[in-house]
């Protein structure tokens, strides 16, 4: 099966063709956003970190920024730095240049302030965006697709219908040689034994069990019952009682394929097939990690409804809760409540999702894209100093 996308110098295929404004630290966010807002064809990620971070935490921010720039939906990158931050712009440029895409840099302290930086960045962005606009879509095999699978604002319809239907679509993509990523380690707690049985070898199984045990240990270290945070008050109002119940429903969205490997946050898969990525259950941080991991498209199942999008990858929003669909129609792409009503099967709903993925890969916009939702948040694993 084929789709039409943008072939990048490293051989990967994007389904969008953005100039990405990449702020190396929180101090550069405003300038980066202004450039992206002014020049068509640009997108921007928020980076609320990038300075006064230490060790593995600093490394995680660095990796996430570099890998977000490497996402095939990005055709060119403009780095915006303040100049004195911990994550030094020249090092990010150096890492990004390995992908063969155009990478340019604007340093606010060197340019002499916000206005000059915005002006310079806009000039660069115009040139790069026009250059990218010349690139036609070309045919690519569906095995080039990496699907990120997210759920958020869940209720019991998520585990009952939306997630299993999403699992049908994810299995189909994997069967056709593609890749899918299941994330949100918190939401594997209580269901990890089921996934562990599907690991391709003992090493993958052990890493899977290890990330879940570590996540649970971090939660326990807070000295509280996790309830109220996981499940959230909205999950509970929607009928979800415990983290175990939420997890058992969550894992359905990855289907039934064997688990090829376990990725660290923002790490890229090296093979095809189904992967687990170690991310928090917070939707935006989770999706940001999968997009840095190379996902060109995201499926987002919801019960309560959520507007979340992503600045680099289109997010396809799905619900099986009719009331939510009717209330939040401007945010939700697919209504699967027909399964609850008995007018549709899970398999049919899964095919609808799969067809939507292909259409969006070919250029159909999602509602989150139309509305300009571009939430991005990098996971933190250490304090700020």
């Amino acid at each position: 099966m084929k789709f039409k996308g943008y072939r990048r110098p490293d051989g990967k295929v994007g389904i969008r063709n953005y100039v990405l404004l990449l702020p190396t630290s929180i101090c550069a966010n405003h300038v980066a956003s202004e450039i992206a807002r002014t020049i068509q064809g640009c997108t921007v990620i928020n980076n609320f970190h990038g300075c006064c971070q230490v060790g593995a935490d600093a490394k995680l921010t660095f990796t996430t920024l570099v890998n977000a720039g490497a996402n095939p939906n990005v055709g060119a990158v403009i780095l915006v730095g303040l100049g004195c931050e911990g994550i030094q712009p020249p090092k990010v440029v150096q890492a990004l240049e390995k992908n063969g895409k155009p990478v340019e840099c604007v340093i606010i302290q060197e340019e002499g302030g916000s206005l000059k930086s915005i002006a310079k960045g806009c000039a660069i962005a115009t040139r790069l965006a026009r250059q990218l606009s010349l690139q036609p879509r070309e045919e690519a095999d569906i095995s080039e697709l990496i699907l990120g699978i997210e759920c958020g604002g869940s209720d019991t319809t998520s585990g009952l219908v939306a997630n299993p239907a999403c699992g049908v679509a994810a299995d189909k993509l994997v069967a056709l040689g593609g890749t899918s990523i299941l994330s949100e380690t918190t939401e594997l707690i209580g269901a990890e034994h089921i996934l562990a049985r599907r690991a391709i070898n003992g090493k993958v199984k052990n890493k899977l069990l290890q990330i879940v045990a570590e996540c649970e240990a971090r939660a326990k270290a807070m000295g509280e019952d996790i309830r109220g945070s996981q499940p959230t008050p909205g999950n509970i109002a929607g009928g979800l009682t415990t983290i175990e119940e939420k997890s058992l429903g969550c894992i359905k969205k990855a289907g039934s394929s064997p688990i090829q490997g376990v990725l660290n946050y923002a790490e890229m898969p090296t093979e095809k097939g189904l992967y687990i990525m170690d991310t928090p259950g917070q939707d935006i941080e989770s999706m940001s990690g999968m997009v840095a991991g190379g996902a060109q498209v995201l499926i987002f199942t919801t019960g309560r409804g959520t507007p979340a999008g992503n600045p680099i990858a289109p997010v396809i929003k799905i619900t099986a809760n009719k009331k939510t669909y009717d209330k939040m129609r401007d945010n939700i792409d697919l209504d699967l409540s027909g399964v609850i009503d008995g007018n549709q099967t899970i398999k049919e709903a899964g095919q609808l999702i799969f067809d939507e993925i292909i259409q969006v890969a070919n250029g159909k916009t999602t509602k989150a894209e139309q509305l300009g939702h571009n939430e991005f948040s990098i996971y933190r694993i250490g304090p700020t100093f």
Partner: protein, 102 residues
């Protein structure tokens, strides 16, 4: 699933309401191919769970064929099953604290 409630796995001891159920109303549910019929003891909102058989104190609540927590009191068939009578057995930092105090 054109029914009022669904049981996902035959091992489950709870059903999920697929419509708002009124206290005292009788509900038909398929357990695999077997049909059971029971009355709910409380209003069960859409998406919420009720017991389809008695669940003893600290017995597992089973959904998707897997344990999803334990009962904090005896739950009768037809009772609303939620945070008031079920607790998680995972991520219990509060249990760790209790252990430390002993």
């Amino acid at each position: 699933m054109p029914t009022q409630a669904v049981v996902i796995d035959e091992k489950d001891n709870v059903a999920t309401a697929t419509t708002n159920l009124k206290q005292g109303s009788r509900v038909k549910i398929f357990l695999g191919s077997r049909e059971i019929d029971l009355a709910v003891n409380a209003d069960i909102p859409f998406g919420h769970k009720f017991a389809i058989r008695e669940i003893g104190y600290h017995e597992h609540v089973i959904k998707y064929g897997e344990p999803m927590g334990r009962a904090t009191q005896v739950i009768r068939a037809g009772d609303h099953v939620h945070v008031h009578n079920v607790e998680s057995e995972r991520c219990r930092g509060d249990w760790e604290d209790a252990k430390n105090e002993i």
